[in-house]
């Protein structure tokens, strides 16, 4: 039905897609499996006409398809269910569906449309009240509306971008039943995911992407979890590289979570009863596929998100209700996931942003001692071997990597005793990434505790003294240094195995 032939796409120095071939057949669920950054999203955007490939082509029924925009794709019967649904919460289900109908009359025939929604809904297990407002619906029902929208707009090829990420387990089961019903009627489904168990449960055909290339393909009944894990994460499924010398000290806990829970709203992940201790002089690695609750956990530790259960302890004191300011005064540094949104004020200059969160350190009367601030920050940039950006330029003008450097330099400037780092090397070139890792290591050697959150298993293996695995908001595995095999960690990350060394 749809054939992808030799598609390549380059973003800057990254080859996101490198000569990808893929065939989607009618009446089949084709799973596209891969880690974050493997090129799944890029490929789906190309098929949906969002981005145009540098090379290669898409064939529809044997003919080259002209896909210059999502509109072209929709006209050709290609529909996509996005992770963040494109629904309007204030409008009803019916109205959201009507917006995308091809044959919408001048005056809406509400009962007619409602009837069509019910008919299609009944046929594919997508029952939703057509008159309900979308904002009143659960996430699972919203997804049903998205699918209904595509079906009524006469899409024959459906792309699902990580559709299970937002769903509860029983809803996932329901979605697979919908897949089965669609398959039976000859729809073609492209199912993008990084959860192995799901792929094995529902896919007829599997394509594994790794670093922008097709790492392997399987027909019905051919795939095994072990092989898939190896393909996803590379052949280095053996022992972890021992790049970091372990240190002896560090038994004193700095921060402890005891049965900590936090409710996640909407597409956020709910954290369930986490027990976690970060010791002095230790790098605690946290592995997990994106959206497993990493951001929520970081927020919880810093106090950006209230605990709904359990306690947070800081150096032997119950810190459950401490303010962010109090934690920061005690030397907690935070490198968040999205630096521009969470750690910087876009409209202010680099200098002003460097002064944020430093509290009263640079106070001079009611004013700020800018010279002392600049000296301290300059020293921090130097220690990281980062180039100092122009202090007067607005921070929003910096590139992602430079912004990340500013945030890291600021957070490291005052010898923090606890560093919460979410993907600190994301967006940095290899040399800067290495110096960030080096600095975190030196901070650890100086007695600081580090929580190092990453999706890059190799990096985690290199950095961690201890490794935890997070999956769907729960800690599902713990490994002391040197005891993990990447393959085991990979299985836990993707939810394809229930227990390990916990």
């Amino acid at each position: 039905m749809l054939t992808v032939r030799g598609v390549s796409k380059r973003y800057g120095s990254v080859l996101a897609n490198d000569g990808i071939d893929l065939t989607l057949n009618a009446g089949e669920v084709h799973a596209l499996l891969g880690e974050n950054g493997a090129g799944k999203s890029t490929l789906s955007k190309i098929i949906y006409g969002y981005t145009r490939p540098d090379a290669g082509e898409i064939l529809l029924g044997g003919e080259p398809a002209r896909l210059r925009s999502p509109r072209d794709a929709r006209a050709l019967g290609i529909g996509m269910v996005f992770q963040n649904f494109m629904l309007i919460p204030a409008l009803s289900v019916l109205e959201n569906v009507a917006l995308f109908l091809k044959d919408l009359p001048l005056v809406l025939d509400q009962e007619g449309i409602a009837g069509r929604i019910r008919a299609i809904g009944g046929r594919f297990g997508l029952q939703v009240d057509p008159h309900a407002l979308v904002r009143q619906l659960s996430v699972g029902d919203r997804q049903k509306v998205e699918i209904l929208k595509l079906l009524l707009a006469e899409a024959r090829i459906l792309i699902f971008d990580e559709p299970t990420k937002v769903l509860a387990p029983h809803e996932v089961e329901g979605l697979f039943q919908v897949f089965a019903a669609l398959k039976a009627e000859g729809y073609a489904i492209l199912f993008i995911t990084h959860k192995l168990r799901e792929v094995v449960a529902c896919a007829d055909r599997i394509t594994v992407l790794r670093q922008g290339r097709v790492a392997g393909g399987f027909g019905p009944g051919e795939a095994q979890v072990g092989t898939l894990v190896k393909m996803m994460f590379g052949e280095s499924g053996g022992e972890a590289p021992a790049a970091m010398a372990p240190v002896g000290g560090g038994t004193q806990p700095i921060l402890e979570l005891r049965g900590a829970s936090a409710r996640g709203a909407g597409s956020e992940t709910t954290l369930q009863g986490l027990n976690l201790t970060i010791h002095e002089g230790e790098v605690l690695g946290l592995a997990g596929v994106s959206g497993s609750g990493q951001k929520e956990l970081g927020d919880l530790i810093l106090g950006l998100r209230p605990l709904t259960g359990g306690n947070r302890w800081f150096r032997g004191e119950d810190a459950s209700s401490w303010s962010i300011a109090r934690l920061r005064e005690r030397g907690v540094a935070f490198v968040p996931e999205d630096a521009l949104a969470m750690a910087a004020v876009p409209g202010m200059s680099v200098r002003e942003n460097l002064s944020l969160g430093t509290g009263a350190v640079y106070r001079r009367g009611l004013a700020v001692d800018w010279r002392a601030l600049e000296a301290a920050m300059g020293a921090s940039f130097e220690a990281l071997a980062f180039p100092m950006p122009p202090l007067d330029s607005p921070i929003a003008a910096l590139s992602g990597g430079n912004l990340q450097r500013v945030v890291i330099a600021r957070e490291m400037a005052h010898g923090p005793s606890l560093i919460i780092a979410l993907y600190p090397t994301r967006g940095l070139d290899a040399r800067s990434a290495a110096s960030v890792r080096d600095l975190l290591r030196r901070a650890r050697d100086g007695g600081a505790g580090v929580l190092f959150i990453s999706e890059d298993l190799e990096e985690l293996a290199e950095m961690s003294d201890r490794l935890l695995v997070l999956f769907q908001g729960a800690l599902v595995g713990e490994f002391p240094r040197g005891s993990w095999r990447l393959e085991d960690v990979g299985r836990l990350m993707t939810g394809s195995e229930e227990v390990a060394g916990v």
Partner: protein, 306 residues
């Protein structure tokens, strides 16, 4: 039996509520498409002034009415050029439009201050006039705009909620990105909403000078444009609720006029403030309400997809 005061208030509520209702309906249309036009006061003034001037020159109030409607549409088109095409800040542009309206209406109307015009004709169906307590009052003695106020409110509601165009307008006001993804052009829909909203605002202004007062005076709208903006919030962006809101505020205005006319002991300055105090109370009461049905994209500029 109704007292003369109550009858007076009721009749006045309908008469001064008419222009409020047209203005509110116009602004509702505009805001449903995601645009706040704080310049409404200026548009009303331009409608009142142009309507009066054209009527004074031609002697025909219907031509004046048409000219006022056209003026309103053009004024909103100018506003649309600023905020939709040039993507200027809506609040600042709205205030600028308001002062522009002050100035232009004063300029246009100046030669005809004090002119005597024939206003819009009023009539009362015979069977209503035959009711005992109606005959002695001005109740049900209305011009065409007042008689049409309720049907127009129904029409605006029907268009917004029951037609393809209305669905598109509401989608743009909630999420221009989603509307764009559905193959609609947000700018076109916003311009159309602004145009129709402007026509309604022009009619609202004309009703003041061609029916309610039969005069033109600088700044004769006295904040009605802003009351209408508050009424849009009061009515939760729903044209049918706007009818009740317009009557309530029209009633407040009528009551204070009646009290003043009857030599009330309350200071006239306090009475003058009544509609505005009511406005404050409405905003206060509706303030943090989570059920507030404001279009999600209201006041935001759409810079295109992605």
């Amino acid at each position: 039996m109704m007292t003369p005061l109550a009858l007076g208030v009721l009749a006045g509520a309908v008469l001064s509520g008419t222009s409020l209702l047209y203005a509110t309906l116009g602004e509702t249309l505009v805001e449903r498409s995601g645009i706040v036009n704080l310049g409404l006061e200026g548009v009303l003034l331009m409608g009142a002034s142009v309507g009066f001037t054209v009527t004074a020159v031609t002697g025909n109030p219907w031509i004046g009415l048409a000219a006022a409607a056209l003026t309103g549409g053009l004024a909103n088109a100018l506003f649309g050029w600023l905020v939709v095409l040039r993507k200027a800040n809506q609040l600042a542009s709205g205030l600028a439009m308001m002062f522009f309206g002050f100035g232009l209406s004063a300029l246009v109307g100046a030669p005809h201050v004090g002119a005597v015009i024939v206003g819009l004709p009023k009539w009362r169906p015979a069977w209503l006039a035959a009711l005992p307590w109606v005959s002695a009052s001005t109740l049900f003695n209305y011009d065409l705009l007042t008689w049409l106020a309720l049907p127009v409110a129904l029409l605006v509601w029907w268009v917004l909620f029951k037609t393809r165009w209305g669905l598109g307008v509401r989608a743009v006001g909630e999420s221009p990105g989603a509307a764009y993804a559905s193959g609609r052009n947000p700018a076109v829909l916003q311009f159309q909403a602004l145009g129709f909203g402007g026509v309604l605002a022009g009619l609202a202004g004309a009703h003041l000078s061609l029916s309610l007062t039969l005069t033109w005076a600088e700044y004769m709208t006295a904040g009605r444009g802003f009351i209408a903006i508050a009424l849009v919030i009061f009515s939760k962006w729903n044209p049918l609720r706007a009818v009740a809101g317009a009557l309530l505020f029209g009633g407040a205005e009528a009551l204070q006029l009646q009290l003043q006319a009857r030599g009330s002991l309350i200071s006239p300055f306090i009475l003058d403030m009544m509609p505005y105090v009511l406005t404050l109370l409405v905003l206060l009461a509706w303030g943090g309400s989570r059920r507030l049905a404001a279009p999600a994209g209201l006041g935001r500029t759409f810079f295109g997809s992605e």
